[in-house]
Each structure stands twice: as structure tokens, then as C-alpha cells.
């Protein structure tokens, strides 16, 4: 029997014990990615669909779990633990993001195998994926404070996510200079650029620019997570 004494260990143990969920979590992104990556679909469409997939994977999982915990009373129990809410949220969301990342590794490997010549984009792709997963988890955590049920959390995640994805320029490239600036202020645009590059498309940024963007959002999301602990765990 695996025993966990810390918050991050507990997340991993629970995940590992849920075998059925483990299989579904690994198979689901791969089933979406296989036709996109292996077919002759234009890379701009494949990058669009995969960006949406990665953003949704992060946000929905965290949102549903935290809403269920709020309903069952676990959030109240967390409040009585001798741990600050910021540290609690960082440990939980970073572990969840790492689990989500593992879930997406087969997809990333598939892209690398399909387009080995685009290896210059891989560091940017890894970092921007991690950043979008952490930000997605954070969005899900905030949405959980507004939701009464795990089903409702989907609504509160998708409502802000779709406009943000649009503003990131993943559906249509931004034509106006102002929209281009807005897209660069959103993490999804860097993931989209990295995916475009890795899939052999025509990105607007260079690999190192995308890498820096992804890194910046990853660091920023980690800082924001610590600050939002009280909002997530202490709101009634």
C-alpha cells in the first residue's frame, strides 16, 4: 500500500490508484491527436485543435475535482490543516499540472516522431505546454469557487476560455496590430506558435521568442497560484 504524507504525494498516490481513470486520461488525448498529427491536415488546424485540447485538459480536471471537494466538505478540512492556502494551492496545482503533462507526453512524442526535423521547437513546446497546463489548472481552481457541481464548472471554464483562445489568434491569425499585441499577452498564443513550428507550419515567432514567452507565463502562473490560495480555499 502506497502511503502519502504530503499534499503532492497524496495527489500522485490517488492518481496512481485510479487505474481506469489513468487509462482514460492517457488514451483520450492520444485518440484526438493521432488523426490530427498523422493525417495530412494542415498544421494550422492541427495546432489549433491541440492548443484547445491542452488548455481544456488543464482547466476541466482541476475545476471538477475542486468543486467536488467543496461539495463533500474536504475544502473545509483543508482549511484546518497547518499549511498556508498559497502553499496548498501551489502543491496541488503543480502536481495536477505535472500529471496532465504526463498525460500529454504520448501526444508530444507523436509530434516529435512525425516531424523529427523540427527539434528546434521542442524546448519551446515543452515549456509552453507546461505554462498552459498550469494556467488552465488555475482557471479551473477559480471556476470551482463559482460552481455548485462538477458539471457547472465546465460552463465557468469554457465561457472565459473560448474568447481567450480567439484573442490568442489560434482560430484566425490576428490582422490588426492591436490584436497582435493582445495575443502576445496570452499564454495560448505561445503554445500555438510552438505547435505550429513543431508540426512544420509557418509560425510568426522564432523558437527562442516562443521559449521565452512560455517561460515567462510559467513563472507568472506559479507566482499567481501562490497568491490565489485564499481565494480558492477560503471563499464560501
Amino acid at each position: 500500500m502506497m502511503l502519502a504524507g504530503t499534499i503532492w504525494q497524496r495527489e500522485l498516490v490517488e492518481f496512481a490508484q485510479r487505474r481506469r481513470a489513468l487509462v482514460i486520461k492517457l488514451a483520450f488525448p492520444l485518440l484526438i491527436a493521432i488523426p490530427l498529427v498523422l493525417s495530412r491536415a494542415p498544421s494550422i488546424y492541427a495546432a489549433m485543435a491541440l492548443t484547445m485540447l491542452i488548455a481544456i485538459v488543464g482547466a476541466l480536471g482541476a475545476g471538477a475535482v475542486l468543486t467536488r471537494e467543496r461539495q463533500t466538505g474536504l475544502t473545509l478540512r483543508y482549511r484546518t490543516l497547518p499549511v498556508t492556502p498559497g502553499r496548498l494551492l501551489i502543491e496541488r496545482l503543480s502536481t495536477n499540472s505535472a500529471i496532465d503533462f504526463v498525460q500529454l507526453i504520448p501526444v508530444l512524442v507523436l509530434i516529435a516522431l512525425r516531424r523529427p526535423s523540427t527539434f528546434a521547437w521542442w524546448p519551446a513546446l515543452l515549456l509552453s505546454t507546461a505554462a498552459v497546463l498550469l494556467i488552465g489548472n488555475l482557471m479551473g481552481a477559480i471556476a470551482s469557487t463559482l460552481s455548485q457541481s462538477p458539471g457547472e464548472v465546465m460552463l465557468y471554464v469554457v465561457i472565459p476560455l473560448l474568447p481567450l483562445l480567439y484573442l490568442s489568434g489560434i482560430f484566425t491569425p490576428p490582422s490588426e496590430p492591436a490584436l497582435l499585441v493582445v495575443s502576445r499577452l496570452l499564454p495560448f498564443s505561445y503554445l500555438h506558435e510552438a505547435l505550429l513550428g513543431a508540426l512544420g507550419g509557418q509560425p510568426n515567432l522564432l523558437p527562442w521568442e516562443t521559449l521565452l514567452g512560455g517561460l515567462g507565463f510559467l513563472v507568472g502562473a506559479a507566482g499567481l497560484t501562490g497568491r490565489l490560495g485564499r481565494r480558492v480555499f477560503e471563499s464560501d
Partner: protein
């Protein structure tokens, strides 16, 4: 963090503690002082604010106004404060996809226990709680009573200075309740202070040094148990089980009746010292088949609450 000398003498001091919710619910201007080894019971009907008060004292909720000082500190987020609190909230919340032992191990470590100490204490507590055989079973498969017992294990494992228990006997069988009373009495002797929210009058009378009666979020009476019981000493509680509803006005109009209340098909009547239960039956004269059962007994804390408020405490569920 603020430290004052008065707070240092008491383990816990609540001053004008208020938590207001929409619709007028909550708790208002609660004052409470808890010394080492003291056992305080909080009694009141559903919605009276017992759970809200326990959550405030357990750092699970923040007050609208007023404050709580734990061991001299008013910082509810101070990890050193929380490490000395043992909390059993009203909801038996656990990680359902993990076993009982995995759950308890996690909470034991969160409160700073080493592997060795956690193993030793959990072995003893699982045996005490009767959960040894179910320790490797997923909590999702536990009954409510088992989940509540696991809550008790988790609240006790780090040997806290203050225990805050919300309805600790809810869903426990009689044997488990006796074991709990014995354990809490021992802990009290060794200096652990206990606050328990309960409507179990037998638990309260056997265990508590003093009682707070909460009604509509406010303390309506507080005192030591023997002192409170003298207020109803000599009077009698009459329980009439009825076949059909009856108006209470005629019963309440009797000089000998101090309070009367209906709970389902049972009328609870508190008779004044020296009064004869036959007086009540005389009021129901001519409706002999109305009463299916009658019981007269010594009054308890629940009867005092009924006398004070006109509201009966709900029967404690077991």
C-alpha cells in the same frame, strides 16, 4: 499576531464572536473561555449556529466581527495554532479513492507526526475505533458510522491540546459512544480541552463540565451542568405519544405546565415541581384513545432547553 496575558491563561478565548450569513443565520456575540482539561458542550436545535461556532473555533471559517485567541495567538492561519487543534467537522469528508489508513496517515503527517509515531498511534487508534479490519478498504466503501470513526481517529492522532468535535456521536453505535466518552474523559484528565457540539443530552450530562445553549445564533444560557440541572430539578418530563394531533393551548394553560412542545407524534411537557401528570390527562378527558403511550421521567438538559425556549432539541441520532 497579538499575545495577551489573559489569553495565555486560557487555551481558547472567543470575544464577541460573530459570523453573519444572509437571511439572518449565523452566530452573534459569542463569548467563550476554555481552560485546559475543560469540556464544554454546545447545545441547540438544528440551525441554532452550533456548526458555525465550531467552524470558527476550528479556523475553518472567518468571523464577521469579534475574534478568537488560541493559545494567546489571534492568527487563525498560524500553523503552530492549527497543529494543536484536533477537529472533527460535521461532514465526514475524506479522500474516497484512498483507504482509511492512507487517509489517516496523510492527516497524521500533515500535523507533523513522523513515520514511526504515526504508525504506532494509528495502530492503537484503529484498534480502539474498531476500524482495524477495514483499514485497507477504500473510504468510498465505508458506512457513515465508519467514516465518523475515522474522523475521530484523525482528530486524535496528533494529541491536540484542544479538541473541537461536531456531533461526535452521530452515527455511532452505543458501544462506540461509551468508548468515546471514556476516551474523552481520559484526555480531559490529562489536560486536553474539549468543545463538542451535540444534542445528545446523555453525552453532555456525562462528559461536559459546562454547557452553552445556543438559540438563533445567540447564547441564551450557560453554566455548569449540575447548576443547570437544578433549574429543572424536581420537575418532571411527560411524553405523550398521540394517535392524532391535539391543540397545545389547553395544556399550556395549566399552571403546572412550564413548557410544552410537539415533536412528530409526541408531545413533550415539562411539569413544575410537585405537579401531578394526571392533571395533563384530565385536560384530555373524554379522548382516552388519543394517547397511545405515556412516559414520565426525570428532566434533563434537553428539558431545560425546552423550558427556556419552548423549542425541543432534536433527538440525537445513533
Amino acid at each position: 499576531m497579538r499575545v495577551d496575558t489573559a489569553s495565555e491563561r486560557s487555551l481558547l478565548v472567543a470575544t464577541d464572536l460573530t459570523r453573519a450569513y444572509r437571511g439572518g443565520k449565523g452566530v452573534f456575540n459569542i463569548r467563550l473561555r476554555l481552560a485546559a482539561g475543560e469540556v464544554v458542550g454546545v447545545m441547540g436545535p438544528n440551525g441554532s449556529g452550533k456548526t458555525t461556532l465550531l467552524r470558527l473555533l476550528a479556523t475553518a471559517a472567518t468571523p464577521t466581527s469579534g475574534q478568537v485567541s488560541w493559545f494567546g495567538s489571534t492568527n487563525a492561519r498560524d500553523p503552530s495554532v492549527r497543529r494543536r487543534l484536533g477537529v472533527m467537522l460535521d461532514q465526514a469528508a475524506h479522500f474516497d479513492e484512498m483507504t482509511g489508513y492512507q487517509n489517516a496517515w496523510f492527516f497524521a503527517h500533515q500535523f507533523g507526526l513522523s513515520d514511526e509515531l504515526a504508525r504506532e498511534r494509528l495502530d492503537e487508534l484503529f484498534s480502539w475505533s474498531g476500524l482495524s479490519e477495514a483499514r485497507d478498504q477504500l473510504v468510498g466503501q465505508y458506512s457513515l458510522g465508519m467514516r465518523r470513526r475515522l474522523n475521530l481517529v484523525e482528530a486524535l492522532v496528533h494529541r491536540p491540546s484542544i479538541l473541537l468535535l461536531d456531533e461526535p456521536t452521530l452515527a455511532l453505535d452505543y458501544r462506540a459512544e461509551l468508548d468515546l466518552i471514556e476516551r474523552l474523559q481520559l484526555l480531559s484528565l490529562t489536560g486536553t480541552a474539549v468543545v463538542l457540539a451535540t444534542n445528545d443530552v446523555h453525552l453532555a450530562e456525562r462528559l461536559c463540565d459546562s454547557i452553552l445553549f445556543l438559540h438563533q445564533g445567540r447564547i441564551i444560557r450557560e453554566g455548569h451542568v449540575p447548576e443547570l440541572l437544578t433549574e429543572v430539578a424536581g420537575s418532571k418530563e411527560v411524553q405523550l405519544q398521540l394517535n392524532s394531533p391535539v391543540g397545545l393551548e389547553a395544556i399550556r394553560a395549566l399552571a403546572a405546565v412550564e413548557a410544552a412542545n410537539v415533536d412528530g407524534d409526541t408531545v413533550h411537557i415539562i411539569l413544575a415541581r410537585g405537579a401531578n401528570p394526571a392533571q395533563v390527562l384530565a385536560v384530555l378527558n373524554g379522548t382516552a384513545d388519543l394517547v397511545s403511550n405515556m412516559r414520565v421521567r426525570r428532566p434533563n438538559l434537553g428539558d431545560l432547553f425546552l423550558k427556556l425556549t419552548g423549542v425541543a432539541l432534536p433527538v440525537a441520532h445513533r
